[in-house]
Each structure stands twice: as structure tokens, then as C-alpha cells.
Amino acid sequence: MPIFSYLAMPKSGAKEVLCADLAALSNCEVIPSDNQEVVVLVTDTPDETTEDKLQKSLNNLQSLQSLSLAFGYDDQEKQ
């Protein structure tokens, strides 16, 4: 049951589209900056399969320039 947070950089001028794209995905919470072209993304998935699917969806987003991991936690790793 991993929890990750990222800084998501949109492609030029695509911040609003990126926010909408990310908010449309399951297991994602989105916090946009109100004065910079950057978005905080927090993901919370129930299992590894869902996490893999989410990663693929993120990789396919046209509005996304890059994702930088800021925080990671996984219950399973702890066990």
C-alpha cells in the first residue's frame, strides 16, 4: 500500500490540463501551485498491481513533462 508524493512539471502552458488529467486518475490527489508551473501529486494505491497501472497512466499523460519523487512509503517494504 504505497504512498508517494511528486513534483509534477507540466509541459509549457499545460498546467491546468495537467491538473485536470491527474485529478481524473484514481488514487491521485493534486495540489497545484498558484504562482509557479508546478503541481504536487500525492498517490495512495492499495496494492502493487494498482500502483503499476497508475505509473503506466502517468507515463502516458501528454500534459506531463516530468515527475520528481519527493516522498515514498510502502507498508510491504516495512514488513
Binding site: I3, I31, V40, V42, A70, F71
Partner: protein, 772 residues
């Protein structure tokens, strides 16, 4: 537990990312989290004004799982531009104290018993009606505060003045800024400051008159210091009766003996005239001269009555009056050197310097409070330093809506939302808007605050409803008023959020919604109205003070005047209320605009806020075609008053040889009923203390923390000594913060007041000390 832990981890994840963003993008802001569609919301943020002082800082309240969990400064609010003080940053914790009142209680056979709130409201309405029927309309009263929201105060006034027909409506702001009001009214004929906080970005000189801004208005003080740092030509003078953190930060600290600010202000005017620093163009065009009655008393006796009478004088008569106030003569009265008096006069008199004077309780809680307000205006008027950016005599307020609710709505015995009960056309206006017969509104004011509690003690008032305030800690000469409230035949209703010494004397306790648990508006010191939504639900059966009053009004048969539902009542009340202020002198923003913005300054005319009043460049109410228009007075002039120095009601003598001064500390709000429930604030200053001058302490033989008994003619309190703490009084004075109900310092203070404003003086009475 699993869910909470997970939510915590997600919050940590978000915080890490936000912190990382802060390192990569300096100045990055995530202030508008709440605006994102589909944000499933780790924390959602909504704007509100801070709940505490009269500065009116904008905050963003963070909510998670229906609970307020975070606060940050609102970058969109021009008051504080994203900054808060320690009380603001920790404010949401006040919502969640363990002993929060969540159910109604009724006294049965001497014991407070929990009852459904409906039953308690039934009893309040029944007792109110029964008392009025049996003893007359003026046997019932409501006492609120400058922490009432604007709708709270509005419905209280409408019910009591408009429907029940009594002017027994008062608020604790009488004890907080009534002298500021009468100062404005007598000097300008219209209430509230002509300037705004932007004055701080223009002034070269700041003089704080008995005003410890560093602790009482810390966000404004830091803005002042930031200006001093940023600009090279800014000077801060602290003019006070004791050394404080404000004195430490000031460029110069000048101490005066209590009450002698009257003499010093006159001496400054003397010097301005003597050195021909008078701005004659301004004075000739915009000022007239007057004198009033003298030897006006102190109000310490019941039924004290006073009415001032203004007489016109000319400049030469005023100049002659000032002959008694040469700097050399005043040095002997005040202890301020003639050199320092001349220095302050030179700052006011230098035409190249813009000067802002700030004051708050030091000048207002004063038995000559109206006079000292007049005298500081005199200084600004003589040199024409007023109503322009940076030139501002500025009366700060202590409570979040002392201006918005008490001064603007008019929740004082003589006031109406527009004007006063004594004037027929003001009563007619109120009756029309309130939809009541004009005969309902009594043209005669009844009791100001001190006299209201005296009337309760005497039995003239038998029913009193107290909301959002704690008079059983704050009334001066407290023992008389607490004993009075406990007498047989009195019925006391208290609406509050935590148990206090005031709920201890209640027959009914109503659980109240606190701050953002309800929708409402506050009005701050600079004529700014600030709306806040219901951001979290109130606990248990707690409801807003506004709705409590409406519930009782409906039970009393006033459905027609109070037709609103809980879904829309705040917006409807606001739109009804703002009819009272229609016109360019006081036009208020619409409900829709208030909801959208982080505060709006009135007059708000054609979508534009008014920064500086009486100046046609900024103020749409100016119509005389001149450089200034002081339209509040019939002669279209601001009034300079010849007001003498008169001594305090009680001064130290051979038996009671110390001055007692009381006030606040930065960590606590008023009586501490909220801030003492916030662990980080409570732990910072867990109990009150008596500040002593180190030499007095040595003579008394006490060291820090040792107990000292403070004795006056009215009572005594024993509390720990603080020596060389954050404040240091001069020899012969002690200072006590009043936030701690364990040490009821107001059992010692004197209930003397300014005969014009009726505001009590908490800064001066005589005490003696004993080592306990």
C-alpha cells in the same frame, strides 16, 4: 487508527513535496488548494479573518476530515500579506479544547443540568417575556462584545431596540474603544479612522501613544519595523508609562507619569504654535476651535450623569489656554523632559516629515479618554498632517469586530445602525428597515456598560443575556458586579464556548458556535469588512449567537422581523443591514463581493474602496471642492478642542502608594478563555504575574516568582512577581496582565470612567503591596 495513520502519512507526503517545491522555486505558493476541481482534499483551505485582535489579519483555515487542522496567512489580504502572529497561527486549536461547551445547561435546584438546546431557548424566551411583563421593558438587557459578528450584533439590536423597545443593548467594546468613538465624534462628527494601514508604508515618523504595539498588534508593528529597515528615514518613538517590547524596538522611548499625556499633548501644541509650525492654510480653511466643560468628574457613583457643552473659541483664546502648558511647566507634571517634549513637537512640526500616531487602550481606557483623543487630533490638525498617505492619527482597536459590530451596527445604548436613538429621523429609518412601529424605539438611552452592571446589582435589570464576552473577569471593581449577578431575582443567560467565571453565574448556558463554525463578518480597525464562511461544523448542539437570538425572537412572536432560515440568514441579514449605510459616506460592499474578497474597506462606492477619508483624491463623499472636506461637522471643519490636564480618579497616596496598570500579553487573548485552551500559548505564559520595578522589588524583598499581595480600596489579589521580564514599570507602578482567571485583578481595579465616553480606566488606580 489505520485510516488516521494513513492520512497522516499522506499529509507528510504532501508536506515533503511542498517543502521540496519551496527549495526549487523560491516564493512558490500553494495557497489556493481549495480552488481545484476534483481535489479529493488532503487539506482544503478557506479564507477568514483572524478571530483575535482588531488588526483583521486574513488567514487561510485548512480543513481535513471536517476538522480545522492548519492555519496560514492569507497572501491575498492586504492587512497582513500572508503573515500572522503566534495567536493567529495557532488559532484553530481553540476550537478543540477538551471542555468545550456542546450542550445547553439550565440551573435546576442550584445545579447546572444538561438539557436539549430547544428547552433552554424556550426557557430564555419565557423568562425574558415574564420579566418584561412584570418589571417593564428596561428590566431586560443584552450584553455582547466586539467579538460578536456583525450579524450577531445586528439581530441583537433589532430584537431589543426594535421589537422589545428597550435600549438596554451594550457591548464590551464600551470598555475598549468608546473614547475613540467620542474622540472621533467630537473632533470630526463622524466615527472611525480617516487613514488606513497603508499609512505605514508612507510615514517617516511613528509615535505610539501608550500603545504596546509589539505585543498587542504584532503584525502591524512588524510592518512598521519592516518599513524602518527598508527606508532610511523612518523613526519610531514609544511614548508610554512603562517600558515594553515596543520601547525596546523603538528608536526612542519616552516615559510619562500616568494621566499626564493630556499635559504633554497640550505642550506639543504649545511648541508648534510658539515655533510657527502651524499649517495656516490648512487651519484657516479646515479647522475651528472649541472648548468644553471642565472638572467633569469620574463616574464612580451610581446614576452619574454628564453632558458636555461645546463653546466656540478663537485661535487667540486657544493659544492663551496653552500658556499653562509650556514644556518646562509640563516637565514638572509629567516627568517628561522639556527637551523630549520639544523633540516630539519638532517631529510633528517639520513639514518634510509624514507622521502617524498610533494608540489603543492607553488612551482609550482613560478617565479623560475623549479628551486625550481630541488632543492628539489637535496636534495633527495644527500641522495639517491628516487624511493624506502617511499622515494619520490612528486609533487601533483591540477586538476583531469592535468597529464592525459595535461602532458600525451600533450595539450601544444610544446607537442605532445608522445614527442615534435620540434623533427622530434615525429612529424612523430604523423602524422602516426593521418593519416595526417607530414608537417601539425609545428615544432615551438607558445604561452604558458600567451602569448596566450597576443596574443589575441594584435590581433595576433583572434579566441579562451575555454573549461572546466574560464580564465576570473583565468588569472593573469586579466583586460588586459578580455579587450583583448572583443576587436573588436575577436571571443570567450566557452564550459561550468554554466554562468561565461568567458561566459560573449563569442560570442558562447556551453552547455557541465559535469563529469559523458559523458564517459571519467582522469589521477591523481600518474600516475593512471581512466575511467568513462556515468552514467546519459546530460541535454538539452549539449554534451561532445570531441564530440563538433569532430562535428566541421567533418564540417571542417576531417571526415577521426575523423571517430567515438557517440556509440563508447571514446573506439576508447583511443585505438588510447595509441599507442603513447607503450613500457615499459609509456605503458597504454587497454580500457577493464580501464573499469573494479578503476584506473590503468602506466607503465602497462604485466598486472602489476608500483608503483616506476627507480627502477628495480618495473619498467620494467630499463635495466642497477644496483640498479637504471634513463633512462630519455642520461647519465642515475639524474641531480643535481646548482640553485641560485633570488628574486621575485615584492616584497613589501615603496609604496606597503604587499605580496599578493592567493589560495583555502577546500570547493571550483578553481573559484567556480561548488562548489558555491552546497548549502552545498556554505553556508559553501559563499564569499571570505582577511586573515590578527591580528597585521596588528589592525594597519589598521579593525576587522573581515570589508571591506579592496587591491591595486596593476594593479588594486584593496575591500573585507571583515578575522582575526584569518583558515589561519593566517605572518605580511606583506595577503592571498585571488580566488573562488569568486564577488571579482576578479586576477585583482590585476602579470603576471610574470617562464622563463623555463612559469607558472605564483600567490603567490607573492606587494600590499597596505586601510580600505574601
Amino acid at each position: 487508527m489505520k485510516l488516521n495513520r494513513r492520512r497522516f502519512l499522506k499529509y507528510a507526503a504532501a508536506s515533503s513535496a511542498v517543502a521540496t517545491a519551496g527549495a526549487l522555486f523560491p516564493g512558490v505558493s500553494f495557497g489556493n488548494w481549495q480552488n481545484l476541481t476534483n481535489n479529493s482534499g488532503i487539506i482544503s483551505w478557506q479564507k477568514a479573518p483572524c478571530r483575535f485582535c482588531g488588526t483583521g489579519c486574513g488567514v487561510l483555515v485548512g480543513v481535513s476530515d471536517g476538522r480545522a487542522v492548519a492555519v496560514k496567512g492569507d497572501p491575498n489580504c492586504s492587512v497582513n500579506k500572508g503573515l500572522c502572529c503566534m495567536k493567529g497561527y495557532h488559532s484553530v486549536q481553540m476550537l478543540y479544547g477538551k471542555d468545550r461547551i456542546t450542550t445547553a445547561k439550565v440551573r435546576k435546584n442550584g445545579e447546572m443540568v444538561e438539557v436539549p438546546i430547544k428547552e433552554a431557548l424556550d426557557l430564555v424566551a419565557e423568562k425574558l417575556q415574564e420579566t418584561k411583563d412584570k418589571h417593564g421593558k428596561d428590566s431586560v438587557a443584552i450584553y455582547g462584545s466586539g467579538q460578536w459578528t456583525i450579524p450577531d450584533g445586528y439581530v441583537a439590536s433589532k430584537l431589543f431596540k426594535g421589537c422589545l423597545g428597550t435600549n438596554n443593548v451594550e457591548a464590551n467594546a464600551r470598555l475598549c474603544m468608546a473614547s475613540a468613538v467620542t474622540g472621533f465624534m467630537t473632533s470630526f462628527g463622524i466615527d472611525e479612522p480617516m487613514g488606513c494601514y497603508e499609512d505605514m508604508d508612507h510615514a517617516n515618523v511613528f509615535i505610539t501613544w501608550g500603545n504596546n504595539m509589539a505585543e498587542m498588534h504584532p503584525v502591524l508593528f512588524s510592518r512598521m519595523l519592516a518599513n524602518r529597515k527598508r527606508r532610511t528615514n523612518v523613526t519610531v518613538i514609544d511614548f508610554a508609562t512603562r517600558s515594553t517590547r515596543t520601547s525596546q524596538a523603538a528608536d526612542k522611548s519616552i516615559l510619562f507619569r500616568p494621566q499626564t499625556d493630556l499635559a504633554v499633548a497640550n505642550a506639543i501644541c504649545y511648541e508648534i504654535i510658539k515655533n510657527d509650525w502651524v499649517n495656516w492654510n490648512f487651519v484657516n480653511e479646515h479647522v475651528s476651535f472649541h472648548k468644553g466643560k471642565t472638572n467633569i468628574g469620574y463616574g464612580t457613583e451610581d446614576h452619574f450623569a454628564f453632558k458636555d457643552k461645546a463653546e466656540s473659541i478663537n485661535f487667540e483664546e486657544y493659544k492663551l489656554f496653552l500658556e499653562d502648558y509650556t514644556p518646562e511647566k509640563v516637565e514638572k507634571i509629567s516627568g517628561v523632559s522639556a527637551r523630549d517634549i520639544k523633540y516630539m513637537a519638532a517631529l510633528y512640526g517639520d513639514p518634510s516629515l509624514k507622521v502617524t500616531s498610533f494608540w489603543c487602550m492607553g488612551m482609550n481606557q482613560h478617565t479623560r479618554g475623549t479628551w486625550i483623543n481630541n488632543l492628539v487630533y489637535n496636534i495633527h490638525l495644527l500641522v495639517g498632517k491628516i487624511s493624506t498617505p502617511g499622515n494619520s492619527p490612528f486609533s487601533l482597536t483591540g477586538q476583531p469586530s469592535a468597529c464592525g459590530t459595535v461602532r458600525e451596527v451600533g450595539t450601544l445604548t444610544h446607537k442605532l445602525p445608522h445614527g442615534v436613538v435620540m434623533k427622530e429621523h434615525h429612529r424612523e429609518m430604523a423602524a422602516e428597515i426593521w418593519d416595526v412601529p417607530v414608537s417601539n424605539i425609545d428615544p432615551k438611552p438607558t445604561y452604558h456598560t458600567v451602569e448596566m452592571f450597576r443596574a443589575l446589582d441594584r435590581g433595576d435589570i433583572k434579566f441579562i443575556w451575555i454573549q461572546v464576552t466574560n464580564p465576570m473577569v473583565t468588569m472593573p471593581n469586579l466583586r460588586r458586579y459578580r455579587d450583583g449577578a448572583l443576587k436573588d431575582g436575577r436571571f443570567v443567560v450566557v452564550s459561550d464556548v468554554y466554562p468561565t467565571p461568567t458561566t459560573d453565574v449563569a442560570d442558562v448556558i447556551l453552547p455557541a458556535a465559535l469563529w469559523v463554525e458559523q458564517e459571519g463578518m467582522f469589521g477591523n480597525s481600518e474600516r475593512r469588512t471581512q466575511h467568513f464562511a462556515e468552514i467546519v461544523k459546530p460541535p454538539g448542539e452549539a449554534m451561532s449567537d445570531t441564530w440563538q437570538i433569532i430562535e428566541v425572537a421567533k418564540r417571542l412572536g417576531f417571526e415577521k422581523q426575523f423571517p430567515w432560515t438557517q440556509d440563508d440568514y447571514i446573506g439576508k441579514i447583511w443585505e438588510e443591514y447595509r441599507k442603513f449605510h447607503a450613500g457615499p459616506k459609509h456605503e458597504m460592499a454587497s454580500y457577493k463581493v464580501l464573499k469573494e474578497r479578503s476584506g473590503v474597506q468602506w466607503p465602497f462606492v462604485n466598486g472602489k474602496e476608500t483608503r483616506w477619508r476627507f480627502n477628495p483624491k480618495y473619498d467620494p463623499a467630499c463635495t466642497n471642492g477644496k483640498e479637504f472636506d471634513f463633512y462630519g461637522k455642520k461647519d465642515n471643519r475639524a474641531w480643535i478642542w481646548a482640553r485641560p490636564y485633570e488628574p486621575a480618579a485615584e492616584s497613589p497616596d501615603s496609604e496606597y502608594n503604587f499605580w496599578l496598570n493592567t493589560g495583555r500579553v502577546i500570547e493571550h487573548w483578553h481573559t484567556g478563555s480561548m488562548t489558555r485552551r491552546i497548549p502552545v500559548l498556554h505553556n508559553a505564559v501559563p499564569s499571570s504575574y505582577v511586573e515590578l520595578n527591580p528597585e521596588d522589588a528589592a525594597e519589598l524583598g521579593v525576587v522573581n516568582g515570589e508571591m506579592v499581595k496587591i491591595i486596593s480600596r476594593r479588594g486584593e489579589v496575591t500573585m507571583p512577581a515578575q522582575i526584569k521580564g518583558r515589561g519593566v514599570p517605572p518605580r511606583g507602578m506595577v503592571f498585571v496582565p488580566f488573562f488569568d482567571e486564577s488571579y482576578l485583578i479586576n477585583e482590585v481595579t476602579l470603576d471610574a470612567f470617562c464622563p463623555i465616553s463612559k469607558q472605564a480606566d483600567y490603567k490607573k488606580c492606587a494600590v499597596r503591596l505586601e510580600k505574601a
